[in-house]
Every structure is written in structure tokens, then in C-alpha cells.
């Protein structure tokens, strides 16, 4: 099963995206904890795309493609905004996070912790794509 959506670069769409994540995760047979993980991972990628890639410009859009089969879900997020490589971000220093000056990097940390695959690429056409995958254990 595959569904494709176009959204404006507006954080107000995150709630709707969260509901789509819950529906797709449920249809793929994941349990509540796994669905929560999927919802969080999708939210982090979309937030990153809206804020850093598309600069909150509501006139610009990004595409989200969700594919699922029983026990597996794959989400791709495509956008062609500003150059931004999220993999340049440092991992958060969780042990000393209360002493650090920033609290960034947690979103990427969640992707790595919660999903089985999380990769980012920039195509020759400049389109940036996040691909995240989760499988049932």
C-alpha cells in the first residue's frame, strides 16, 4: 500500500501528519509503542524539512510518501529547498545536556534510535530525500 501527500511548509500540518503516521503504522500491524516511534520519527523529519529546508515558507511544499506492508513501513520525504545537510549536526551530549548551551540534535538522535533505517541523500536535481524504515521485530 502506498500513499503520497503534498504539504505546505507550515508546522501546523504536523498534527495531520501525525494522524497519517498512526493510521499507516496501525494498518501495517505495529503495536502502540512502535506506532509512537514511527509518529515521532516522521514528525522529526518533517519538522526538519519545514524549518531548515523550506524556512517555514508556506508557499513552498514538500512531498511525503508512505509505503507499508504487514510488519514494515517506509516513509520518504522529498523537498527542494535550501541546502541543508542534517547529518552535519552533532549528536546531543545527553549526559551533560543541562550544562550545554544548546539542546539541538535530539531529533536526529531519535531517528537513529527508533528506526531500522534512516538515510538522507541529495539528488542531482537538488531534491533532498529522507528515507526512514521500521520493521517489526
Amino acid at each position: 500500500m502506498q500513499q503520497s501527500y503534498d504539504f505546505p511548509a507550515d508546522t501546523a500540518v504536523l498534527e495531520k501528519i501525525g494522524k497519517l503516521a498512526i493510521d499507516a503504522g496501525s494498518n501495517a500491524g505495529f503495536n502502540d509503542i512502535e506506532i509512537g516511534d514511527i509518529q515521532l520519527a516522521i514528525d522529526e523529519v518533517c519538522t526538519n524539512t519545514i524549518i531548515h529546508g523550506l524556512k517555514n515558507d508556506q508557499n513552498r511544499t514538500f512531498q511525503m510518501v508512505i509505503q507499508w506492508n504487514p510488519g514494515e513501513i517506509e516513509i520518504q520525504i522529498h523537498e527542494s529547498g535550501e541546502f541543508f545537510d542534517p547529518l552535519d549536526l552533532d549528536d546531543p551530549n545527553l549526559e551533560n545536556i543541562m550544562e550545554e548551551n544548546s539542546a539541538g540534535g535530539l531529533g536526529l538522535y531519535f531517528l537513529r534510535e527508533l528506526m531500522d533505517e534512516a538515510d538522507f541523500r541529495i539528488g542531482r536535481d537538488g531534491v533532498k530525500t529522507w528515507r526512514i524504515v521500521k520493521r517489526k521485530v
Partner: protein, 113 residues
Amino acid sequence: MKIEENILNDVSSIKLEGRFDANTSDAVEKFIREKIEKGCSQFVLNMENVSFISSAGLRVVIIIARELRNEHQGDLHIAVLQPSVKRVFEISGLNNILKIFDDEQTATEAFSK
């Protein structure tokens, strides 16, 4: 995001309802900062009705708690986490850094101990 405040014994209890994400985190941060500017330094963040939290919400919790501890001799106590939200605190390790309570009353009383 619905934000309500109740003040008891100089402790500001802030009850959130809805999603604590990149779309709502600025409003929560602004609300608490206004209270800090008015002199409040002890906060309880009641998240009983928060159904979802992302790193954007956690970021606000971290920077507010850090500022209260380091600059105001205060703190931000967390009260009542739904299981899915509790899991995000645990994955991030914040459950070991922040003071998290099962109910708002205990979180409030902990400031006077």
C-alpha cells in the same frame, strides 16, 4: 495547544493539553518565560493531557529547566506523563536529569522539601 496556569504557594503549575511539537513549543516557552520575568522560579509542568512530544517540545523543557536551575535557583518539575510521552523522556535520558512525578500535588509539594 491549550495552556492553563494555577499558582499555589509560589509554585506555578502549568497544565498543557494537546501536542507539544514544533507548532506549539514556542507558545509554551513564551508563556513560561513571561512568568519567569515576573519573578516565578518554581514550575510544575502537568503533561497529563499531552498526547505527543517531539524534540521541539523537549528542547523547551531542557532550556527552561536549565535556566531556572542555573540562573534563578529554581526548577521545572514534570508531572503525569502518558506512556508514549514517558517513552520519549526515557529514550532521551531526560528521565534521569529532570524531576518527574506521578501527580501534580507531589510535584508541587516537592518544592517545599
